[in-house]
Amino acid sequence: MKRNNFGYYIREGNKGIFVHGFMSFAAICAIIACLLIMGSFVLITLNLNNIISDLERESEILVYIDDNLSEAEAKSVGSNINMITNVQQAVFVSRDEALQDYIGQQDDPTLFDGVDATTLRDRYRVTLLDIGQTKDTVTKIEAISGVAKVSAHYEISNGFMTMQSILNVASTAIIAILMIVSLFIISNTVKLALYDRREEIAIMRMVGATNRFIRGPFLIEGFTLGIVGAAIAFFAEWGVYSLITVRIQAVDTMKLLNLLPFMDIWAPMAAGFAAVGFVVGVIGSALSIRKFLRV
Protein backbone atom coordinates (compact mmCIF):
# COMPACT_ATOMS: atom_id res chain seq x y z
CA MET A 1 0.00 0.00 0.00
CA LYS A 2 1.86 3.06 -1.28
CA ARG A 3 0.74 6.60 -1.81
CA ASN A 4 2.16 10.03 -1.83
CA ASN A 5 2.07 11.25 1.77
CA PHE A 6 3.15 14.79 1.03
CA GLY A 7 -0.41 16.15 1.10
CA TYR A 8 -0.90 14.54 4.51
CA TYR A 9 2.32 16.11 5.85
CA ILE A 10 1.30 19.58 4.68
CA ARG A 11 -2.25 19.27 6.00
CA GLU A 12 -1.18 18.00 9.43
CA GLY A 13 1.83 20.32 9.66
CA ASN A 14 -0.20 23.43 8.95
CA LYS A 15 -2.93 22.29 11.32
CA GLY A 16 -0.29 22.13 14.07
CA ILE A 17 0.60 25.79 13.49
CA PHE A 18 -2.96 26.94 14.17
CA VAL A 19 -3.62 24.54 17.04
CA HIS A 20 -0.67 26.11 18.94
CA GLY A 21 -1.30 29.59 17.60
CA PHE A 22 0.40 31.52 20.37
CA MET A 23 3.59 29.47 20.33
CA SER A 24 3.65 29.64 16.53
CA PHE A 25 3.28 33.41 16.72
CA ALA A 26 6.12 33.56 19.29
CA ALA A 27 8.33 31.39 17.08
CA ILE A 28 7.68 33.55 14.01
CA CYS A 29 8.38 36.73 16.03
CA ALA A 30 11.64 35.23 17.30
CA ILE A 31 12.73 34.38 13.76
CA ILE A 32 11.78 37.85 12.52
CA ALA A 33 13.73 39.54 15.33
CA CYS A 34 16.69 37.26 14.77
CA LEU A 35 16.74 37.79 11.02
CA LEU A 36 16.22 41.55 11.27
CA ILE A 37 19.24 41.91 13.53
CA MET A 38 21.21 39.43 11.48
CA GLY A 39 20.23 41.14 8.24
CA SER A 40 21.12 44.57 9.62
CA PHE A 41 24.61 43.39 10.52
CA VAL A 42 25.01 41.86 7.08
CA LEU A 43 23.89 45.11 5.42
CA ILE A 44 26.25 47.20 7.54
CA THR A 45 29.12 44.84 6.73
CA LEU A 46 28.29 44.87 3.01
CA ASN A 47 28.15 48.66 2.95
CA LEU A 48 31.38 48.96 4.89
CA ASN A 49 33.05 46.60 2.42
CA ASN A 50 31.68 48.73 -0.38
CA ILE A 51 33.01 51.92 1.20
CA ILE A 52 36.40 50.31 1.71
CA SER A 53 36.42 49.18 -1.92
CA ASP A 54 35.69 52.77 -2.96
CA LEU A 55 38.53 53.95 -0.75
CA GLU A 56 40.80 51.36 -2.31
CA ARG A 57 39.87 52.60 -5.76
CA GLU A 58 40.13 56.25 -4.90
CA SER A 59 42.83 56.56 -2.30
CA GLU A 60 46.33 56.86 -3.60
CA ILE A 61 49.73 57.35 -2.19
CA LEU A 62 52.21 59.79 -3.62
CA VAL A 63 55.75 58.63 -4.29
CA TYR A 64 58.21 61.55 -4.73
CA ILE A 65 61.29 60.91 -6.83
CA ASP A 66 64.77 62.12 -5.96
CA ASP A 67 65.49 65.66 -7.36
CA ASN A 68 68.78 64.52 -8.79
CA LEU A 69 67.19 62.07 -11.21
CA SER A 70 66.33 63.11 -14.71
CA GLU A 71 62.76 62.64 -15.96
CA ALA A 72 63.84 59.57 -17.94
CA GLU A 73 65.48 58.08 -14.82
CA ALA A 74 62.44 58.98 -12.75
CA LYS A 75 60.19 57.12 -15.21
CA SER A 76 62.30 54.01 -14.86
CA VAL A 77 61.59 53.90 -11.09
CA GLY A 78 57.94 53.21 -11.99
CA SER A 79 58.67 49.68 -13.18
CA ASN A 80 60.13 48.84 -9.74
CA ILE A 81 57.04 50.28 -8.03
CA ASN A 82 54.73 48.29 -10.30
CA MET A 83 56.55 45.07 -9.37
CA ILE A 84 55.31 45.31 -5.76
CA THR A 85 52.45 42.83 -5.33
CA ASN A 86 49.96 45.15 -3.65
CA VAL A 87 50.40 47.94 -6.23
CA GLN A 88 47.49 48.16 -8.63
CA GLN A 89 48.80 50.99 -10.73
CA ALA A 90 51.62 53.56 -10.61
CA VAL A 91 51.02 56.63 -12.80
CA PHE A 92 53.95 58.96 -13.48
CA VAL A 93 53.33 62.69 -12.94
CA SER A 94 56.10 65.02 -14.08
CA ARG A 95 56.99 68.21 -12.18
CA ASP A 96 55.30 70.28 -14.90
CA GLU A 97 52.09 68.25 -14.74
CA ALA A 98 52.14 68.42 -10.93
CA LEU A 99 52.47 72.20 -11.04
CA GLN A 100 49.64 72.54 -13.56
CA ASP A 101 47.42 70.28 -11.44
CA TYR A 102 48.20 72.35 -8.36
CA ILE A 103 47.56 75.67 -10.07
CA GLY A 104 44.36 74.29 -11.56
CA GLN A 105 43.00 73.60 -8.07
CA GLN A 106 43.56 77.20 -6.88
CA ASP A 107 40.90 79.93 -6.91
CA ASP A 108 43.25 82.46 -8.49
CA PRO A 109 45.79 80.73 -10.78
CA THR A 110 47.38 84.07 -11.76
CA LEU A 111 49.05 84.18 -8.34
CA PHE A 112 51.34 81.37 -9.51
CA ASP A 113 52.52 82.99 -12.72
CA GLY A 114 56.25 82.62 -12.99
CA VAL A 115 56.53 79.77 -10.52
CA ASP A 116 59.12 77.29 -11.83
CA ALA A 117 58.25 73.58 -11.92
CA THR A 118 61.75 72.70 -10.67
CA THR A 119 60.59 73.63 -7.18
CA LEU A 120 58.51 70.45 -7.31
CA ARG A 121 59.54 66.79 -7.71
CA ASP A 122 58.57 64.18 -10.25
CA ARG A 123 56.17 61.76 -8.62
CA TYR A 124 54.01 58.67 -8.97
CA ARG A 125 50.36 58.38 -8.04
CA VAL A 126 50.08 54.81 -6.74
CA THR A 127 46.80 52.99 -6.15
CA LEU A 128 46.75 49.82 -4.07
CA LEU A 129 44.90 46.53 -4.30
CA ASP A 130 44.41 46.20 -0.54
CA ILE A 131 44.55 49.30 1.59
CA GLY A 132 44.89 47.12 4.66
CA GLN A 133 48.50 46.55 3.57
CA THR A 134 49.28 50.23 3.01
CA LYS A 135 51.97 50.42 5.68
CA ASP A 136 53.91 47.40 4.36
CA THR A 137 53.64 48.66 0.80
CA VAL A 138 54.92 52.10 1.75
CA THR A 139 57.94 50.49 3.43
CA LYS A 140 58.66 48.50 0.25
CA ILE A 141 58.36 51.60 -1.96
CA GLU A 142 60.64 53.63 0.32
CA ALA A 143 63.29 50.96 -0.12
CA ILE A 144 63.39 51.49 -3.92
CA SER A 145 66.40 53.39 -5.14
CA GLY A 146 65.47 56.86 -6.42
CA VAL A 147 62.47 57.27 -4.12
CA ALA A 148 62.88 60.38 -1.97
CA LYS A 149 59.67 60.35 0.04
CA VAL A 150 56.31 58.55 0.23
CA SER A 151 53.19 60.33 1.35
CA ALA A 152 50.29 58.14 2.50
CA HIS A 153 47.27 58.86 4.68
CA TYR A 154 46.32 55.46 5.92
CA GLU A 155 44.67 56.47 9.20
CA ILE A 156 41.21 56.57 7.60
CA SER A 157 41.62 53.25 5.86
CA ASN A 158 42.97 51.72 9.05
CA GLY A 159 39.93 53.03 10.90
CA PHE A 160 37.57 51.43 8.39
CA MET A 161 39.52 48.19 8.44
CA THR A 162 39.38 48.02 12.23
CA MET A 163 35.67 48.77 12.23
CA GLN A 164 35.16 46.09 9.59
CA SER A 165 37.06 43.50 11.64
CA ILE A 166 35.10 44.34 14.79
CA LEU A 167 31.82 44.19 12.88
CA ASN A 168 32.71 40.85 11.31
CA VAL A 169 33.46 39.29 14.68
CA ALA A 170 30.45 40.92 16.37
CA SER A 171 28.04 39.99 13.60
CA THR A 172 29.27 36.39 13.51
CA ALA A 173 28.80 36.09 17.28
CA ILE A 174 25.38 37.77 17.24
CA ILE A 175 24.19 35.69 14.28
CA ALA A 176 25.29 32.50 16.05
CA ILE A 177 23.56 33.47 19.31
CA LEU A 178 20.36 34.53 17.55
CA MET A 179 20.27 31.34 15.52
CA ILE A 180 20.58 29.27 18.70
CA VAL A 181 17.79 31.30 20.34
CA SER A 182 15.54 30.82 17.30
CA LEU A 183 16.34 27.12 17.18
CA PHE A 184 15.41 26.83 20.84
CA ILE A 185 12.07 28.61 20.38
CA ILE A 186 11.14 26.64 17.26
CA SER A 187 12.19 23.46 18.98
CA ASN A 188 9.92 24.23 21.94
CA THR A 189 7.00 25.14 19.71
CA VAL A 190 7.26 21.83 17.94
CA LYS A 191 7.83 20.03 21.26
CA LEU A 192 4.52 21.42 22.48
CA ALA A 193 2.80 20.13 19.36
CA LEU A 194 4.48 16.77 19.86
CA TYR A 195 3.44 16.62 23.50
CA ASP A 196 -0.14 17.42 22.56
CA ARG A 197 -0.09 14.59 20.05
CA ARG A 198 1.96 12.06 22.01
CA GLU A 199 -0.93 9.58 22.17
CA GLU A 200 -1.41 9.86 18.45
CA ILE A 201 2.30 9.34 17.89
CA ALA A 202 2.28 6.29 20.18
CA ILE A 203 -0.59 4.85 18.15
CA MET A 204 1.18 5.66 14.91
CA ARG A 205 4.26 3.80 16.10
CA MET A 206 2.18 0.88 17.30
CA VAL A 207 0.42 0.40 13.98
CA GLY A 208 3.70 0.51 12.08
CA ALA A 209 4.17 4.09 10.89
CA THR A 210 7.75 4.72 9.84
CA ASN A 211 9.75 7.43 11.58
CA ARG A 212 9.77 9.40 8.35
CA PHE A 213 5.97 9.40 8.26
CA ILE A 214 5.71 10.52 11.89
CA ARG A 215 8.39 13.18 11.45
CA GLY A 216 6.94 14.60 8.21
CA PRO A 217 4.16 16.88 9.56
CA PHE A 218 6.40 18.31 12.31
CA LEU A 219 9.16 19.11 9.85
CA ILE A 220 6.61 20.83 7.64
CA GLU A 221 5.39 22.81 10.66
CA GLY A 222 8.94 23.93 11.51
CA PHE A 223 9.68 24.67 7.86
CA THR A 224 6.54 26.79 7.48
CA LEU A 225 7.27 28.77 10.65
CA GLY A 226 10.84 29.35 9.49
CA ILE A 227 9.92 30.44 5.98
CA VAL A 228 7.02 32.68 7.04
CA GLY A 229 9.29 34.36 9.62
CA ALA A 230 12.03 34.76 7.02
CA ALA A 231 9.65 36.26 4.43
CA ILE A 232 8.23 38.82 6.87
CA ALA A 233 11.73 39.71 8.11
CA PHE A 234 13.01 40.10 4.54
CA PHE A 235 10.33 42.59 3.51
CA ALA A 236 10.65 44.47 6.81
CA GLU A 237 14.42 44.68 6.31
CA TRP A 238 13.90 45.92 2.76
CA GLY A 239 11.52 48.65 3.91
CA VAL A 240 13.63 49.81 6.83
CA TYR A 241 16.87 49.76 4.83
CA SER A 242 15.38 51.73 1.96
CA LEU A 243 14.03 54.30 4.39
CA ILE A 244 17.38 54.66 6.16
CA THR A 245 19.38 54.99 2.92
CA VAL A 246 17.04 57.71 1.68
CA ARG A 247 17.46 59.59 4.97
CA ILE A 248 21.25 59.22 4.90
CA GLN A 249 21.53 60.36 1.29
CA ALA A 250 19.44 63.41 2.16
CA VAL A 251 22.13 64.64 4.57
CA ASP A 252 24.74 66.71 2.67
CA THR A 253 27.76 65.46 4.60
CA MET A 254 26.73 61.83 4.12
CA LYS A 255 26.22 62.06 0.34
CA LEU A 256 29.79 60.89 -0.22
CA LEU A 257 28.93 57.54 1.31
CA ASN A 258 28.14 55.23 -1.54
CA LEU A 259 25.43 53.02 0.03
CA LEU A 260 24.33 49.89 -1.80
CA PRO A 261 20.79 50.07 -3.19
CA PHE A 262 18.69 47.17 -1.82
CA MET A 263 17.74 46.18 -5.37
CA ASP A 264 21.41 45.35 -6.00
CA ILE A 265 21.57 42.88 -3.15
CA TRP A 266 18.00 41.63 -2.73
CA ALA A 267 18.65 38.23 -4.30
CA PRO A 268 21.50 37.09 -2.01
CA MET A 269 19.71 38.65 0.95
CA ALA A 270 16.50 36.75 0.12
CA ALA A 271 18.45 33.53 -0.34
CA GLY A 272 20.22 34.09 2.98
CA PHE A 273 16.99 34.81 4.85
CA ALA A 274 15.27 31.79 3.29
CA ALA A 275 18.25 29.56 4.12
CA VAL A 276 18.34 30.70 7.76
CA GLY A 277 14.54 30.33 8.08
CA PHE A 278 14.71 26.86 6.57
CA VAL A 279 17.62 25.69 8.70
CA VAL A 280 16.24 27.11 11.94
CA GLY A 281 12.73 25.74 11.27
CA VAL A 282 13.65 22.29 10.07
CA ILE A 283 16.54 21.66 12.47
CA GLY A 284 14.52 23.02 15.41
CA SER A 285 11.76 20.51 14.61
CA ALA A 286 14.14 17.67 13.96
CA LEU A 287 15.82 18.19 17.34
CA SER A 288 12.48 18.04 19.17
CA ILE A 289 11.12 15.01 17.44
CA ARG A 290 14.22 12.89 17.84
CA LYS A 291 13.43 11.69 21.33
CA PHE A 292 9.83 10.86 20.43
CA LEU A 293 11.05 8.51 17.74
CA ARG A 294 13.38 6.45 19.88
CA VAL A 295 12.26 2.83 19.81
Binding site: K2, Y8, E199, I203, M204, M206, V207, G208, T210
Partner: protein
Protein backbone atom coordinates in the same frame (compact mmCIF):
# COMPACT_ATOMS: atom_id res chain seq x y z
CA UNK B 1 3.96 -17.18 14.76
CA UNK B 2 5.77 -16.35 17.99
CA UNK B 3 8.87 -18.09 19.21
CA UNK B 4 10.61 -17.03 22.43
CA UNK B 5 13.80 -18.83 23.44
CA UNK B 6 15.35 -18.31 26.87
CA UNK B 7 14.34 -14.66 26.83
CA UNK B 8 15.47 -12.44 29.68
CA UNK B 9 14.94 -8.75 30.19
CA UNK B 10 16.80 -6.71 32.77
CA UNK B 11 16.03 -3.01 33.00
CA UNK B 12 18.68 -0.34 33.38
CA UNK B 13 17.92 -0.11 37.12
CA UNK B 14 18.79 -3.79 37.49
CA UNK B 15 15.20 -5.08 37.84
CA UNK B 16 14.80 -8.48 36.18
CA UNK B 17 11.31 -8.49 34.65
CA UNK B 18 11.70 -11.61 32.49
CA UNK B 19 14.01 -14.34 33.74
CA UNK B 20 14.16 -16.91 30.99
CA UNK B 21 10.94 -17.50 29.08
CA UNK B 22 10.63 -19.94 26.23
CA UNK B 23 7.33 -20.41 24.45
CA UNK B 24 5.96 -21.03 21.01
CA UNK B 25 2.64 -19.85 19.58
CA UNK B 26 1.59 -21.22 16.22
CA UNK B 27 -0.21 -19.29 13.51
CA UNK B 28 -3.96 -19.29 14.10
CA UNK B 29 -3.79 -20.12 17.83
CA UNK B 30 -5.84 -18.40 20.53
CA UNK B 31 -3.82 -17.97 23.72
CA UNK B 32 -4.59 -16.39 27.07
CA UNK B 33 -1.61 -14.93 28.91
CA UNK B 34 -2.34 -14.64 32.62
CA UNK B 35 -0.43 -13.63 35.68
CA UNK B 36 -0.49 -11.22 38.61
CA UNK B 37 0.58 -7.60 38.46
CA UNK B 38 4.36 -7.34 38.21
CA UNK B 39 4.68 -10.86 36.86
CA UNK B 40 6.27 -9.68 33.62
CA UNK B 41 3.24 -9.66 31.32
CA UNK B 42 3.66 -6.05 30.22
CA UNK B 43 7.37 -6.52 29.62
CA UNK B 44 6.60 -9.60 27.56
CA UNK B 45 4.16 -7.63 25.39
CA UNK B 46 6.71 -4.85 24.93
CA UNK B 47 9.25 -7.46 23.86
CA UNK B 48 6.78 -8.79 21.29
CA UNK B 49 6.05 -5.33 19.90
CA UNK B 50 9.77 -4.41 19.94
CA UNK B 51 9.22 -1.49 22.31
CA UNK B 52 11.87 -3.29 24.34
CA UNK B 53 14.66 -5.51 23.13
CA UNK B 54 15.63 -8.68 25.01
CA UNK B 55 18.70 -8.65 27.22
CA UNK B 56 19.43 -12.25 26.20
CA UNK B 57 17.61 -14.89 24.18
CA UNK B 58 15.64 -14.67 20.96
CA UNK B 59 12.25 -13.10 20.25
CA UNK B 60 10.86 -14.17 16.90
CA UNK B 61 7.60 -12.46 15.86
CA UNK B 62 6.12 -13.37 12.50
CA UNK B 63 9.61 -14.21 11.22
CA UNK B 64 11.16 -10.97 12.51
CA UNK B 65 13.92 -11.49 15.06
CA UNK B 66 13.39 -8.35 17.14
CA UNK B 67 16.86 -8.52 18.71
CA UNK B 68 18.53 -8.48 15.32
CA UNK B 69 16.38 -6.46 12.94
CA UNK B 70 17.40 -2.94 12.03
CA UNK B 71 15.50 -0.10 13.73
CA UNK B 72 14.16 0.94 10.35
CA UNK B 73 12.54 -2.52 9.99
CA UNK B 74 10.62 -2.34 13.27
CA UNK B 75 7.60 -0.48 11.75
CA UNK B 76 7.29 -3.24 9.16
CA UNK B 77 7.38 -5.88 11.90
CA UNK B 78 4.66 -3.98 13.78
CA UNK B 79 2.44 -4.02 10.70
CA UNK B 80 2.14 -7.79 11.16
CA UNK B 81 0.66 -7.16 14.62
CA UNK B 82 -2.51 -5.52 15.87
CA UNK B 83 -2.44 -4.26 19.44
CA UNK B 84 -5.49 -3.60 21.63
CA UNK B 85 -5.22 -1.80 24.97
CA UNK B 86 -7.35 -1.73 28.11
CA UNK B 87 -7.86 2.05 27.79
CA UNK B 88 -8.74 1.80 24.04
CA UNK B 89 -6.31 4.59 23.08
CA UNK B 90 -8.56 6.20 20.52
CA UNK B 91 -7.94 9.68 19.15
CA UNK B 92 -10.66 11.82 20.72
CA UNK B 93 -10.79 14.37 17.89
CA UNK B 94 -11.36 11.75 15.19
CA UNK B 95 -14.61 9.93 14.54
CA UNK B 96 -14.89 6.15 14.40
CA UNK B 97 -14.18 5.95 10.68
CA UNK B 98 -11.11 8.19 10.95
CA UNK B 99 -9.75 6.40 14.00
CA UNK B 100 -9.76 3.17 12.04
CA UNK B 101 -8.68 4.76 8.76
CA UNK B 102 -5.80 6.45 10.60
CA UNK B 103 -4.04 3.09 10.98
CA UNK B 104 -4.24 2.62 7.21
CA UNK B 105 -3.18 6.19 6.42
CA UNK B 106 -0.02 5.97 8.50
CA UNK B 107 1.21 3.02 6.50
CA UNK B 108 0.53 4.80 3.23
CA UNK B 109 -2.79 3.30 2.09
CA UNK B 110 -4.67 5.12 -0.66
CA UNK B 111 -8.02 6.80 0.02
CA UNK B 112 -9.64 4.29 -2.33
CA UNK B 113 -8.31 1.38 -0.28
CA UNK B 114 -9.41 3.10 2.94
CA UNK B 115 -12.94 3.72 1.68
CA UNK B 116 -13.30 0.13 0.68
CA UNK B 117 -11.72 -1.58 3.71
CA UNK B 118 -12.87 0.50 6.71
CA UNK B 119 -16.66 -0.10 6.25
CA UNK B 120 -15.98 -3.83 5.90
CA UNK B 121 -14.05 -3.99 9.20
CA UNK B 122 -16.55 -1.75 10.99
CA UNK B 123 -19.28 -4.16 9.93
CA UNK B 124 -17.19 -7.06 11.23
CA UNK B 125 -17.09 -5.46 14.70
CA UNK B 126 -20.73 -4.35 14.56
CA UNK B 127 -20.16 -0.59 14.26
CA UNK B 128 -21.25 0.00 10.67
CA UNK B 129 -23.92 2.47 11.82
CA UNK B 130 -21.66 4.49 14.08
CA UNK B 131 -18.82 5.41 11.78
CA UNK B 132 -19.39 9.17 12.18
CA UNK B 133 -19.58 9.16 15.97
CA UNK B 134 -16.79 10.52 18.12
CA UNK B 135 -15.29 8.17 20.74
CA UNK B 136 -16.90 10.12 23.60
CA UNK B 137 -20.32 9.38 22.10
CA UNK B 138 -19.74 5.62 22.38
CA UNK B 139 -20.01 3.17 25.28
CA UNK B 140 -16.87 1.47 26.62
CA UNK B 141 -17.68 -1.74 24.75
CA UNK B 142 -18.16 0.19 21.51
CA UNK B 143 -14.91 2.07 22.01
CA UNK B 144 -13.11 -1.24 22.45
CA UNK B 145 -14.72 -2.47 19.23
CA UNK B 146 -13.27 0.58 17.47
CA UNK B 147 -9.87 -0.34 18.90
CA UNK B 148 -10.34 -3.90 17.65
CA UNK B 149 -11.32 -2.60 14.21
CA UNK B 150 -8.19 -0.45 14.16
CA UNK B 151 -6.06 -3.43 15.16
CA UNK B 152 -7.64 -5.50 12.41
CA UNK B 153 -7.66 -2.95 9.63
CA UNK B 154 -4.22 -3.71 8.23
CA UNK B 155 -4.95 -7.43 8.25
CA UNK B 156 -2.28 -8.39 10.81
CA UNK B 157 -1.08 -11.93 11.28
CA UNK B 158 -1.54 -11.63 15.01
CA UNK B 159 -3.50 -9.54 17.52
CA UNK B 160 -2.18 -8.86 21.01
CA UNK B 161 -4.94 -7.69 23.35
CA UNK B 162 -3.65 -6.24 26.61
CA UNK B 163 -6.46 -6.47 29.20
CA UNK B 164 -9.08 -5.71 26.51
CA UNK B 165 -11.99 -6.12 28.93
CA UNK B 166 -10.40 -4.42 31.95
CA UNK B 167 -12.68 -1.37 31.67
CA UNK B 168 -15.88 -3.20 30.73
CA UNK B 169 -18.75 -4.82 32.59
CA UNK B 170 -19.10 -8.64 32.43
CA UNK B 171 -21.70 -8.64 29.65
CA UNK B 172 -19.62 -6.30 27.42
CA UNK B 173 -16.48 -8.26 28.31
CA UNK B 174 -18.06 -11.44 27.08
CA UNK B 175 -19.13 -9.75 23.85
CA UNK B 176 -15.61 -8.52 23.23
CA UNK B 177 -14.11 -11.95 23.93
CA UNK B 178 -16.59 -13.56 21.55
CA UNK B 179 -15.67 -11.02 18.92
CA UNK B 180 -11.99 -11.80 19.39
CA UNK B 181 -12.76 -15.51 19.13
CA UNK B 182 -14.63 -14.88 15.88
CA UNK B 183 -11.68 -12.92 14.48
CA UNK B 184 -9.40 -15.78 15.50
CA UNK B 185 -11.66 -18.20 13.67
CA UNK B 186 -11.03 -16.16 10.51
CA UNK B 187 -7.32 -17.01 10.84
CA UNK B 188 -5.73 -14.27 12.94
CA UNK B 189 -3.51 -15.48 15.79
CA UNK B 190 -4.80 -14.07 19.08
CA UNK B 191 -2.99 -13.42 22.35
CA UNK B 192 -5.19 -12.05 25.11
CA UNK B 193 -3.60 -10.81 28.31
CA UNK B 194 -6.10 -10.79 31.16
CA UNK B 195 -6.69 -11.06 34.88
CA UNK B 196 -10.26 -12.25 34.54
CA UNK B 197 -10.40 -15.84 35.65
CA UNK B 198 -14.12 -16.34 35.00
CA UNK B 199 -13.79 -15.05 31.47
CA UNK B 200 -10.78 -17.24 30.66
CA UNK B 201 -12.56 -20.28 31.99
CA UNK B 202 -15.55 -19.76 29.69
CA UNK B 203 -13.37 -20.47 26.66
CA UNK B 204 -11.51 -23.69 26.00
CA UNK B 205 -8.24 -22.14 24.96
CA UNK B 206 -4.56 -22.46 25.71
CA UNK B 207 -3.63 -20.59 28.91
CA UNK B 208 -0.05 -19.50 29.63
CA UNK B 209 0.53 -18.33 33.20
CA UNK B 210 3.58 -16.35 34.16
CA UNK B 211 4.84 -15.18 37.50
CA UNK B 212 8.05 -13.53 38.63
CA UNK B 213 9.30 -13.42 35.03
CA UNK B 214 8.88 -17.15 34.38
CA UNK B 215 6.24 -19.36 32.71
CA UNK B 216 4.73 -21.38 35.53
CA UNK B 217 2.08 -23.22 33.54
CA UNK B 218 1.14 -23.67 29.92
CA UNK B 219 -1.94 -25.78 29.34
CA UNK B 220 -4.39 -26.55 26.58
CA UNK B 221 -7.17 -27.43 28.99
CA UNK B 222 -8.59 -23.93 28.86
CA UNK B 223 -8.64 -23.72 32.62
CA UNK B 224 -7.26 -20.80 34.52
CA UNK B 225 -5.73 -22.80 37.36
CA UNK B 226 -3.39 -20.14 38.61
CA UNK B 227 -4.28 -18.05 41.65
CA UNK B 228 -3.33 -14.48 40.92
CA UNK B 229 -3.53 -12.91 44.37
Amino acid sequence: MIDLRNVTKTYDNGAKAVKGISLHIEDGEFVFLVGPSGSGKSTLIKLLTAELLPTTGMVLVNNFNTGKIKRSQIPYMRRTLGVIFQDFRLIEKKNVFDNVAFAMRVIGASEKEIKSRVPYVLELVGLENKSHRLPEELSGGEQQRVAIARALINNPQMIIADEPTGNLDPARSLEIMMLLERINALGTTMMVVTHEKALVNRFSKRVIAIDDGLVISDGMDGYYNYETE
